[in-house]
Amino acid sequence: MPRLIWSPIKYRKFSVGDIIIFLFIGSIIYSIATLNTIYSKPTQQIYLDLSPLKLPLYAIFSLIRMIFAYIISLIFTIVYAYTAAYKKNLEKILIPLLDILQSIPVLSFLPPVFMAVISLFPGSKIGLELTSIILIFTGQVWNMVFSFYQSLISIPRDLREAAKVLKLNPWQRFWNLELPCAAIGLIWNSMMSWAGGWFFLMACEMFTLTNQNFVLPGIGSYLSFSAIEGDLTKLFYGLFTLIIVIILLDQLVWRPLIAWGQKFKIEFVQDEETYESRVLLWYRRSRIFEFIKNHIADPLKEKLNQCFVRYYTEKTLKAQNISIFPKILNIIVSSLLGLLVLRGVFGLLNLLIKLPLTTWEEILTAALLTLLRVSLAVIITLLWTLPLGVKIGMNTKLSKILQPIVQIVASIPATAIFPIIIMYLIKLPGGLNLASIILMLLGTQWYLLFNIIAGGMSIPKDLIEVSKLLKLGRKEQWKILILPSILPYLVTGGITAMGGAFNASIVSEYIEFQNKVVKIKGLGALITEASSTGNNALLAGSTITMAIMVVTINRLFWKRLFKKSEEMLS
């Protein structure tokens, strides 16, 4: 006898969740419709309407760009991480490559991306939009790939076996095993990626290439433009809008997502740390969602499932007859890929040969200067985050109050405040040097702070009690208890912070401000300048130097420290 198994409360009234969804969809449709009218003005000449009334629209444009970039990132993440996790021979190339790609600043991708896109869509605004979107994508995709790959290779063995014995096909395996296992990591990393996206948005919406300026209407370009004109009031308007957008996203998207993601925890033990979201409840009660689930999503899922079952049964039947075909396809694809890589390496070498020795000298001094700035930024960050982070981490009450505040503050992109800081510092001697370090600091200190807080929380409570009973002095407590326990977290935070600071150098060492270019000697300035003047050889040379520097520091310094700390704890 069939039984009623799922009985949602029927005839529910519209909820707040419905209104949010409705507003969201409506505003997107409206903005896409307006986008066209804005573009009908000539784009080649650098112009942007700075009326504050346009700000909501600009914010939505930027948001749409970010969403597209994020969707591309997701697709790329899944393909890349999947290949790396399941093709053992490609894994050895793909994972180190990821390390390198992660260390390349966004602007270095600009000329090749622009050339490729413009040749596909010559002279059109779609080309420009696509360039901007791809730039944002290059800034946010890598950590997502890494997280997904990590999740894939650490799926519990028994769950994998269960999926195999139940004969799930690859489609079902993806939705029922792989994606759920990766969900939590992916959500957190998506959040980080979005923060990174906001950080570089100004550079991605307004850029100079071979001495030509390109502007796309958006909140990033609004901020850049106000900075160039030196209009503080407009800058504040822009900043205010951006902060509102970020807070809204945090409350309406990320928090509900994190709360929802808790069901993908693999451990069966109840965690003391719980994430709650009232908004998630609204969504769950939303009639639109319920309608989509019952009438669109579920039937579609069922249809797709049937299709894939049929497809894979036929495929296995066929595979018994001809099994060479996929092998040949594999060989063709990998040799094509190999050729593409070879072609790229050859082109790069060709560019690099053109660089005279004096330029290399210039690059190296610039690299050293940037390294110095980055190290200073990291050291200053450590000086304040270490005591504060540990304090917050070890005190549950304090962390409950401070964590959400810190998270919001951290998500405000420092690049947006930067012009204001510049305004005050530029008059001082060495002011830009200071400003540059401050921007690096503002952009990357959070990685360290969050990790140190997590480290502080991980110190076992009984050890803290023991150290109190033994009446250990402050110094001993740090040496014996705190530093050893937080070291792994410190290293993880350090790697991200340092890489981030290097990447931030492209916006912190070279700034257009009050209609003039302000720059200091450094690798980031070189990259930005080379990219805007179209000096591809210099761009390639300085980018490679930066990548090598970041990867080397990671390998020689951070990874060793990490190993040491792991040994100490085991």
Partner: protein, 430 residues
């Protein structure tokens, strides 16, 4: 009718240091109506064997046939229940049970109907929409059973399904399974149970295949003709349990090998547990049934056996027909104080474990009396797998430290003679 046939199954792993054989030339068949238990200590490869039957692992040599057809991929006629449940935490009970039917491409209504039936059968009604984390361990494993049974497999594979549950829950679930099986309420034609619990195997199965370890070989096959429900206190039940115990403790094959190889493969038991066991047996008037001992201590064979073997090796006790009997030395050891104990242990250890003596000799011959751990590890690796060598050396160091034969520095990974200690005269004992 023959359902399953294993032919010359051999599995080995290659390490830089050499080849480790996990399963060595396994042959057996499973017929319709069989309830077979694969029983052996850890390291006997019994779980690997089950995975080979399921088609999850490919053997290096040998073939598996299901209904006469060779298995190349996942075995089409099996379903499996896992030791740690292997449920998908993000799916509800119903969704978990439905998953395999979904993979088959069954339409939603049919899926739901079958899954609900399986859930009712295994006694989970009312929990359809719960998530696994809301359930107790026993309930979770019931979901595991429902998920396997809903597939209506010819052969049900059970990988230590009761070992993660507490005693009462496990007993309950065992009985429920036997009931389903003997009353033929499930279409399953054969069950293969992997376990390290002798009692569990004798209680449930009709056939038991005993496996040795390092490498896993079939040492004996036992038929159990006691009808269900079996009385665990009955004479015939206990006799079979004792028989298996003495086969496993006796391990004739390994004893011969041990002498042949002449390497000191000492049982992996800490001094603490050896002392504990000797004391306990002494309190029981110097004689105890090993099976009952295990039951009383709530210990599995694979945990208890090494300790028993260590007592035997050191001459503290002897095993006779499933009983552990203390020797004079054992009684003396049990009643001695801490310092005397160390003295007794030292004398016996040096006498019975040549490798300990070798370690001391090497240390004495060095001018600074220090030798890195890796040196002894290399010596041990000549006869053992890398992992075993590590465990052996750990045990040797534990014994040696207790006997105050030498000291060990964990930071530097080296063995050394403490400066204050006088040199032990080794020659007198030989």
């Amino acid at each position: 009718m023959e359902l399953l046939k294993l032919e010359n199954i051999t599995v080995s792993f290659t390490f830089p240091e050499g080849i480790v054989t996990v399963l060595d030339n396994i042959n057996f068949t499973v017929n319709e109506g069989d309830f077979l238990a694969l029983l052996g200590p850890s390291g006997s490869g019994k779980s690997t064997l089950l995975r080979i039957i399921a088609g999850l692992i490919k053997p290096n040599k040998g073939k598996v046939y299901f209904k006469g057809k060779e298995i190349k991929d996942i075995n089409p006629g099996v379903a499996m229940v896992f030791q740690n449940f292997a449920l998908f935490p993000w799916l509800t009970v119903l969704e978990n049970v439905e998953l395999g039917l979904k993979a088959k491409g069954l339409p939603p209504e049919e899926r739901r109907k079958k899954a609900t039936e399986a859930i009712d059968l295994i006694g989970l009604d009312g929990f359809e929409n719960a998530y696994p984390k809301e359930l107790s361990g026993g309930m979770r494993q019931r979901v595991g059973f429902a998920r396997a049974l809903v597939m209506e497999p010819d052969i049900l594979l059970l990988d230590e399904p009761f070992s993660a549950l507490d005693v009462l829950t496990a007993e309950n679930l065992r009985n429920d399974l036997i009931e389903l099986w003997i009353e033929k309420r499930i279409p399953t034609k054969a069950i293969i149970l992997v376990t390290h619990s002798i009692e569990e195997a004798v209680y449930m199965a009709d056939r038991i295949i005993l496996l040795s370890k390092d490498p896993g070989r079939i040492i004996k096959e036992i038929r159990i003709n006691i009808p269900h429900w079996r009385d665990k206190k009955s004479q015939e039940f206990l006799e079979i349990v004792d028989e298996i115990y003495s086969t496993l403790t006796g391990k004739p094959l390994e004893k011969i090998l041990w002498k042949e190889k002449r390497h000191i493969h000492i049982p992996e038991a800490s001094v603490g547990s050896i002392t504990g066991l000797v004391e306990l047996v002494n309190d029981l008037e110097g004689k105890a049934d090993i099976y009952k001992l295990g039951e009383e201590l709530l210990m599995d064979v694979e945990d208890l056996l090494p300790i028993v073997e260590a007592c035997e090796l050191l001459g503290f006790a002897e095993v006779k027909e499933g009983d552990l009997i203390l020797t004079e030395a054992g009684k003396k050891f049990a009643e001695a104080d801490v310092l005397e104990r160390k003295e007794i242990f030292k004398t016996l250890a040096i006498e019975k474990v040549p490798f300990l003596k070798q370690i001391v000799k090497v240390l004495q011959s060095k001018s600074n009396h220090k030798v890195p751990r890796a040196f002894f590890l290399d010596l041990l690796r000549k006869n053992l797998t890398p992992k075993e060598a590590e465990r052996q050396l750990d045990t040797l160091i534990d014994w040696g430290r207790y006997a105050e034969l030498f000291e060990y520095d964990d930071d530097k990974d080296e063995l050394y003679l403490p400066e204050t200690s006088e040199l032990i005269n080794l020659s007198s004992e030989t």
